[in-house]
Subunit: 338 residues, 2 copies
Amino acid sequence: MSITLDSPLDMHLHLRDGEMLSTVAPLSAKTFSGAIIMPNLVPPISTKEELLSYKARILEATKGHTFKPYMTLFFKPTYTKEFLESLQDELIAIKLYPAGITTNSEGGVAGFDVEELRPTLTAMSELNIPLCVHGETNGFVMDREAEFVSIYEMLATNFPKLKIIMEHITTKESVEALDRFENLYATITLHHLLITLDDVAGGMLQPHLFCKPIAKRPEDREALRKVAFEGHPKVMFGSDSAPHPQHAKESCGCAAGVFTAPIAIQVLTELFVKFSTIEKLQAFLSDNAQKIYSNITIPKKQISLEEKTFLVPNKYSNVVPLYAGETINYSILEIEGD
Amino acid sequence: MSITLDSPLDMHLHLRDGEMLSTVAPLSAKTFSGAIIMPNLVPPISTKEELLSYKARILEATKGHTFKPYMTLFFKPTYTKEFLESLQDELIAIKLYPAGITTNSEGGVAGFDVEELRPTLTAMSELNIPLCVHGETNGFVMDREAEFVSIYEMLATNFPKLKIIMEHITTKESVEALDRFENLYATITLHHLLITLDDVAGGMLQPHLFCKPIAKRPEDREALRKVAFEGHPKVMFGSDSAPHPQHAKESCGCAAGVFTAPIAIQVLTELFVKFSTIEKLQAFLSDNAQKIYSNITIPKKQISLEEKTFLVPNKYSNVVPLYAGETINYSILEIEGD
């Protein structure tokens, strides 16, 4: 038996730049039809020139693949409607980071003054540009996301026509918020469907499983699994695959991020099969995103998988992937349209 | 102004063996009058010969210092009263580990069948040998200690004459249990008075702050500080200083333990001064332990400290201490009796 998936989409992806971009971009481009590309470079993508030039570098790095990078800007409250209009063919979403909350987010939003944010968010509503949000306060690490739900609510009520994507959600509180506000959506990563804080710090400390938001409690993972496994229409796959060089992960002061891009579809397949919900994977991995992001066009690609062991490489160049050196149980059989 | 402390005691200390013992033992022996030595070597200390031979190696490593190692056995439910009596001049306490819960604890207790434990615990009660316990279940990492409180209660009620020391407590639940049972006592580490999970995993991941039990929530730290800072008579200082070579901390699968021995008294002084409770440090650091462990004799030593910056070394041999390369604000002025 094989499993065939149409046009998989990764709605939250870090491709970095330079050598790292060349290493990781083809790995996503091989299996995915497209991906929302995070703008947190140094400096972050915030001008038309930066966006177009980054897109060109991504297309160069993924040459030969059927793959569409959906470009984003790093949110600034100073973006005008005219500026956003001038980018409309290229800009798929804008990503909002609270200041200092994760890798390269220093220039993010400090405080959430609705009047300061209003002009840009109103323009985005009018232009139907979704707002992607890294939703964490600077509170205690296990509470940050739950505390941020009140900010999601403030945004959702003040901008009812704005599509707000709660990125890489990790808690039952975020899952519950999904159904309270029509204009709230969410991405969920592979690793947050797999692990809890126990896997990061319950045995030996596992730097390669350290990410932001940090993996939470078993009941949080249950809540995420529930909506992912039922193909909840407001929930999409976003890997948040976040490569760092090995030395930045295995050192004193380890960087946050799990690198899952090359094995995401295989492991998702294994997981959905294991939980007897494989028929919902197409919705989670592509169909829901196509409906939520009505402003994207998707290149056709078909990926077929079979139950066959695959030994995950220890490294891709100098990046250690999830399950490095371990065996996963689904392999890619064929990719059509790449 | 200087601060003088009499006969500081470290009621929970890991000295390891071999080269590591030679590195770390003199650092404790310099400033402390004595310490309860944990028995979790490989293999764990469980015979008279092992105990006496380990004690001799510790005395050799601390030669020239006024320092008493208080020896412990690794708990086994097969210890007879005759065996324990034969050790009574040398044995200060017995340490119970749940199986597999921390470094070198594989041979610990699996399940807590009171009848299986009764003969040894009854003998300990009769001989007035305290039971030191690493109190964690194998549940979710943030819940393990709170879940273990019911086992403390079972032990405390079944063996009302047994002194039970809840080692390195980290939660408000353990603090609350202290006052419910006359025969429950506790040690608290320096690092659990200083940090929460935020310091371990809230920014970058900090392997040198990773320990078992893992640092918990801010309200847990508050509860620990409250009883330590008030000099609660059932609470003693136990550093749980746990050295590992640098490579075992800064790697994939980092070992658990914070190395605090060489700076513990200085940082405790700074902390108690900062919270305007320096007059309680003598109780926390020595007097309470002398009353709880009525079976110890303590060599006289006086340590004087002054407010003067001290640059903590990056390493002691190959072991990275807490605050490596940082400046602390209290220094040792004089040690009398060493």
